[in-house]
């Protein structure tokens, strides 16, 4: 038989022998290639991009972000393929060692490995491109929906995107094959033959290991406590070096703690557990012992998957949170279709048809400089307040039910401040007895309530607002600042009117220098920037254009988060799946013994389920804790937009992830049945 024949036989036999893992590896890569193709094909579709861009904040934002996503996913995919490939080839050490011992030349083994890699790449590309074309329509649908646009499209076929991916992945798989060939042929024959199959006994539980275990747990706990209090502690430190130490320290402690958790803490816990009453049940004992071996052999892959799960859930969670934030922000920033100041109203009324207006709300306020102080901090800070009477506030509340109820008397006041949640978690939390003194009139007020909800929306204000009793308001001598809110009809003409108005952006200014803040001179409002120190706000605030921009931006963000999340999820799950299948082949002889000793099939299966679920749940559990800490931080910074959508996204992630655990068990059972 010719040389080509033997190599062909060898390739065929190898592919058949490792059929399950080969197919899985190709399918996983195919899934990622499908995502890449669908996104690339979207960016190649000029017409679609132009229409998506219509709603975006800046021109070319959509294609730019999508291409950036493709690059990130590509880089990640290449690293993932390299890692998976190394895992898969290492377990073939022994069989390749036997081939070479029996006289197969290293060159032929090398050639066969390169060809096998290319075959795998071809399968992955075939699966990926087919799936990608089918997915493309759904991707566009999802993106359009999230961006709040009304575009439809069919399947996207882009020869250029397909060719780019074929060329790139052909190269990647060629490199993988060459790496495998070099790895195998360069290693001395002795090593693969003697190393495999040895399964040293688990280390006994010694004092030092307990010390390491406790250290790991302490580090991780410290990192978690640090992350929980991060914002409060950050505000207390003021120099860059200690800030760097705090943030760096928390991240390092978290990484080291997680690594040690898998390397030392969990093995010790499991070892201790297997000394308890649990050892009296064979199922529990065997699952614990298997878990101990898994932790010893695969602690780094568990660490890696924990980090990946954290990353995935954080990306998904923060994407969802930002999207939710964008929805809440619009409501908080501009509470009606249009909110204008007296100055802005002239421009607004110029082309407005009276028939378009459904409702008009007027809010009288007075502008005053004030000093916020407490017993602990008598100096406090000085800024400009829009002072509102309680009765006027209640009138607006009828149209804006999310405003909190007030019942003020005497010198009591409600302080409206942006980023309340941030402040409550930082310096504001630790102080009580806040007072505001309006400098020019020397009006002293006691703050009894806080909120971040401004009547008519935060964008219409210079800075903070104060709600006071009608008596205090009437007595206050200060310049008037009237705000108007409009609810408008949903008509095309109104849309054009608003779009035209949005391009002109009139602003209001108010003095912000020390004399004005200390009440030594009257506040002066103007239509242009005249003084050196001034606060400004937009004089015309339109809700619909803002909704459009928000949807376009954060919808795109969420779309990208879901895409990258999907890719990370595939990677995480496939690392765990492959590792589990490899472990399964190694422990096959043990299960054969157990079966012969009369262990019921159902119990053997229960051990497999227990062990697989635990291995999948560990990264998920640690990942969820990490993610909730990160998402909590983001939530505080974004003024608590709520976690409903975040919880939903993470629940979907966990569901898909656990489905992979089920798939792993099924594949393990299939593999062990076929070997019997």
């Amino acid at each position: 038989m010719g040389e080509g024949g033997t190599v062909r036989q060898l390739i065929g036999r190898d592919l058949r022998r490792h059929a399950t893992t080969t197919w899985l590896f190709a399918l996983m890569a195919g899934a990622i290639i499908a995502v890449l193709y669908a996104v690339l094909a979207m960016t190649e579709d000029q017409r679609l991009m132009a229409r998506l861009d219509a709603g975006a904040l800046t021109p070319d934002m959509v294609p730019a972000f999508l291409v950036f996503t493709v690059v990130v996913i590509l880089l990640f995919t290449i690293v993932f393929l390299l890692y998976m490939n190394a895992v898969l080839v290492a377990r073939r050490d022994r069989e390749i060692g036997v081939y070479r011992l029996l006289g197969l030349s290293a060159r032929r083994v090398g050639v066969s490995l390169v060809v096998q890699a290319l075959i795998q790449g071809a399968v992955a590309l075939g699966v990926g491109l087919t799936l990608g074309v089918l997915l493309s329509k759904f991707f566009v649908m999802g993106l359009v929906r999230l961006m709040g646009l009304g575009i439809t499209t069919g399947l996207l076929w882009s020869p250029r995107a397909a060719l780019e991916l074929v060329a790139l992945f052909a190269l990647v798989y060629l490199v993988l094959g060459v790496i495998n060939a070099l790895y195998v042929t360069a290693s001395p024959l002795k090593r693969p033959l003697w190393r495999a199959g040895q399964n040293p006994t688990l280390e006994p539980l010694t004092g030092w290991r307990v010390v390491w275990a406790l250290l790991g747990a302490a580090l991780l706990m410290a990192a978690h406590i640090g992350a929980y209090n991060l914002i409060g502690w950050t505000y207390r430190l003021n120099d860059a070096r200690s800030l760097f130490l705090l943030w760096g320290g928390i991240i390092m402690a978290g990484l080291a703690g997680t690594a040690m958790m898998f390397r030392h803490t969990l093995p010790v816990v499991v070892a201790a557990l297997s000394q308890t009453r649990l050892k009296r049940r064979a199922t529990a004992l065997l699952a614990l012992v298997d878990l101990r071996r898994r932790l010893r052999n695969n602690s780094q892959s568990l660490f890696l998957t924990t980090m990946l799960a954290t990353l995935t859930m954080t990306v998904l969670g923060s994407g969802a949170m930002l999207y939710q934030f964008s929805q809440a922000t619009v409501q908080q920033s501009i509470a009606m279709d249009a909110v204008v100041s007296t100055h802005g109203r002239t421009a607004f009324m110029k082309k407005l048809q009276p028939g378009w207006v459904q409702r008009h709300v007027t809010l009288d306020t007075k502008l005053a400089a004030g000093q916020l102080a407490s017993a602990a901090d008598p100096d406090g800070d000085r800024t400009i307040y829009n002072v509102i009477a309680q009765s006027a506030y209640r009138r607006v509340q009828r149209d804006q039910p999310d405003l909190p109820n007030v019942a003020l008397s005497g010198d009591q006041a409600l302080l409206v401040v942006y980023g309340r949640a941030l402040m409550q978690n930082t310096w504001l939390k630790h102080r009580s007895g806040w007072r505001v003194r309006l400098s020019r009139t020397n009006t002293a007020l006691t703050v009894t309530q806080f909120t971040s909800r401004y009547p008519l929306g935060a964008d219409a204000y210079f800075d903070r607002a104060l709600v006071v009793t009608d008596a205090v308001y009437d007595a206050l001598a200060a310049p008037q600042d009237v705000l108007h809110g409009y609810a408008l009809r949903h008509e095309a003409a109104v849309g054009h009117f608003l779009a035209a108005l949005d391009s002109a952006d009139p602003a209001d200014y108010v003095s912000f220098d020390q004399a004005a803040l200390k009440g030594k001179k009257a506040l002066r409002q103007s239509k242009t920037a005249k003084e050196a120190a001034q606060l400004s706000r937009s004089a015309v605030n339109l809700r619909r254009p803002m909704v459009k921009v928000m949807n376009a931006t954060f919808g795109l963000g969420l779309f990208i988060a879901v895409l990258t999340g999907f890719v990370f999820l595939v990677a995480t799950a496939s690392i765990l799946l492959m590792k589990q299948l490899l472990v399964q082949t190694q422990t096959e002889s043990a299960s054969a013994t157990l079966r012969q000793l009369g262990m019921p099939e159902a119990s053997l299966r229960r051990v497999l389920w227990l062990e697989t679920l635990t291995v999948f749940l560990l990264p998920l559990a640690f990942g969820t804790v990490n993610t909730s800490l990160v998402v909590r931080l983001i939530g505080i910074m974004l003024d608590d937009p709520g976690v409903g959508m975040v919880a939903l996204v993470i629940a979907v992630f966990a569901g898909v992830y656990l489905a992979f655990a089920g798939l792993t068990v099924r594949l393990s059972l299939l593999a062990s049945d076929s070997r019997r």
Binding site: N199, T201, R281, L285, V289, Q596, L597, P600, E601
Partner: protein, 258 residues
Amino acid sequence: MRVVRVEHLSKIYGHRFNRVAALNDLSFGIDAGEFVGIMGPSGAGKSTLLNLLATIDTPTSGSVWVAGAELATMSESAMAAYRREQLGFIFQEFNLLPDLTVADNITLPQTFVPPRPKDLDARLAHIADTLGLTRLLGRYPDQLSAGQRQRVTAARAVLGKPSLILADEPTGSLDSMAATELLQYLTKLNLEEDVTILMVTHDAFTASFCNRIIFIRDGAYFAEVTRRGSRQQFFNSIIDMEATINGGGRHRAAVDRT
């Protein structure tokens, strides 16, 4: 009392034009408390017989009765229960689980299905004492010598008080010292614990520790030798029978006379 009854047992591998009869109308019986050896040349069907007794394989025809139950009528789970409760195994390759301590390895089969026997710890202590394993209970299999490991296997096999212990070349991986020691322990179990043992071996020395040897050839019953007198005499008659089975006619006549 008959513990094992094998009746007209046949096992045929392959199909149609390419058939190999591993067992061919084999019949024999074993009484409670016996220590029986199965001998025969390579390919005689020893392993097939053991697999059929262990319900790892099913016969083509004929039947096997162990402790009053016919194996062919059992369901999958009944077979597992049978292996768990009626059988004890001693393998040539030990088949101990490397990650369990000696004590856990010995008690493992008894904890497969709850409830865990109440006297398990006492039984473990007793059997460990009998087999000289008391000081090794906390160790792992990798820390033991081959002979010690085989004693652990023996302890695991005996602990469940099975009706029958199947030993497949138990001395195959041991040196002669360890083998002798193990066989003395097995004899001790047979006498003191009243365990019935069926041992497959091809080694005459190993076989000489039995009470009775059944020789099979080409899947069929060939002859049997029962121990009378000293072990040396028994050993000699086994050697003679082995020579006969391999074609030495002179010795065959000699044995037939006794």
